[in-house]
Amino acid sequence: MLTTLRERTSNGAAGDGASGDARLVVRDLSKTYPNGTAALAHVSFAARAGEVTVILGPNGSGKSTIVRCVVRLTDPDTGSITVGGRDIAALSGEGLRQARREIAVIFQNVSLVARRSALANVAAGCLGRKQGIETLFGLLPRDELSLATRLLERLSIVHLADQRADTLSGGQAQRVAVARALHQQPTVLLADEPVAALDPDASLEIMAVLQRLAREDGLAVVCVLHQMDIARKFADHVVGLRAGVVVIDERAARVDEKSLSSLYKRDA
């Protein structure tokens, strides 16, 4: 089962998810950091609309580097990242800024602006499409604020709208981050270890929210995880990484226990 994807993608296909409804297609992505660490080597996979794609792998396997490369917080050395027909890896400046609007990211650690309210944090999701000078002073159109309120309602945290972000619990803060991501109106939702800092109950809640968003909103949800049990429960598609190389790229139902366990074996 542990076969590298390079063989399967030699003809240009992006592995298991190279079908027509693929919202995010990563092809032949490589990244070596200036200190010589090869984080990613010819990584290819695709994430489909309406599905949860889980990226699994041990520490240092390159999971977070993929997320950072997809939104160009880190520049890949080679490869392409296609979202909405545009190759994000080849864009810069205004083109990159426009393309980023298609992809929302939920980070592992609290990524809210601490001194602002939950509502203001959620509403900030629209900054990509609202560029007026008034936005520099935190002034947003009424319809954007209404949308932010509706999203807080949808995630059952509207009662926290006026509460400062730094007073929220981990689970509440992560829900606000999800609401902000939705306010961006993306087609792809990346979540970099969104439950790493949460207790088991809150972790399951957040994952259920992400799964529901994939099903109801047709988002392509890509979720970096460590927890195999959560991956088994929520993933439709599994991408396994070892030392920057894709070793699993399968429908979740077809990934067996042995393959998953092998990902985390030191000598595998």
């Binding site: 917080l73 810069s92 609007r101 992809i103 990211v105 980070f107 602006v113 629209c126």
Partner: protein
Amino acid sequence: MATSFALRAPARAPKRMSLPLKIGIGALVVFLIVQAYIVIEAHPEDIITGFSGIVDIVRRGLPPDPRVLLPSLKASLVTIDVAILATFVPIIFSIPLGFMAAHNTTPGRWAYYAARGIIAVCRTVPDIVWALLFVTAVGLGAFPAFLGLAVHSVGVLGRLYAEAIEDVNMEPVHALQVTGANPAQIASQAILPAVLPTMIGLSLYRLDTNVRSSLVLGFVGGGGIGFQIQQALALFEYKQLTMLLIIMCVMIVGIEGLAVFLRKSIS
């Protein structure tokens, strides 16, 4: 560089300092202290032999002369106003300079080095030298004192703001960056809210420092209570001097107290 907000390089694990290096650093510190003692020609015994002179001046300065109280209030106001203006006007210039001079928010290498250069020039030239330069341009008075102090403050605040910005948690910044927000939106909506309390605290600390500097600049023609102190010293009016020193102490302690209160309120 694909992003406007550059990423920090991964931090390397700190190396343990070797024993010879520790001894070397210790020896260097001792050498610096000893050479400083020799170079300044320190003679502690002179304090004892000159003590009677100090006692004589204190005796001649008592009781304080209350007649200078009212005239010195206006002079005190000048000193404080120079400090206030020389703190708040530089803030307008220091905020953009701070963003340009912080490696995580600078729009480019050219901007970084230009901002760092401006900050270095403003900061390394002492405020008193700037004030003397401005005296030649605009004449004596409080205005050149303000200009001198303001230029120096631009450098000091610019550097402190840049350091505060460099310490900001970048996760919220990246979160807004990936929404497609432009750099100005990211600066105003993610970075500024995070660093604002620190910036206000630093500005209040600078106000506190500027009050003292404004007083010193009075000695070289900058007006205010500093100028009155210098006049009293030159005319051997020690009773007036004592009264002015009391006013000065009250003024500085008052400003310090206000600054501390505001800093605590913000934090």
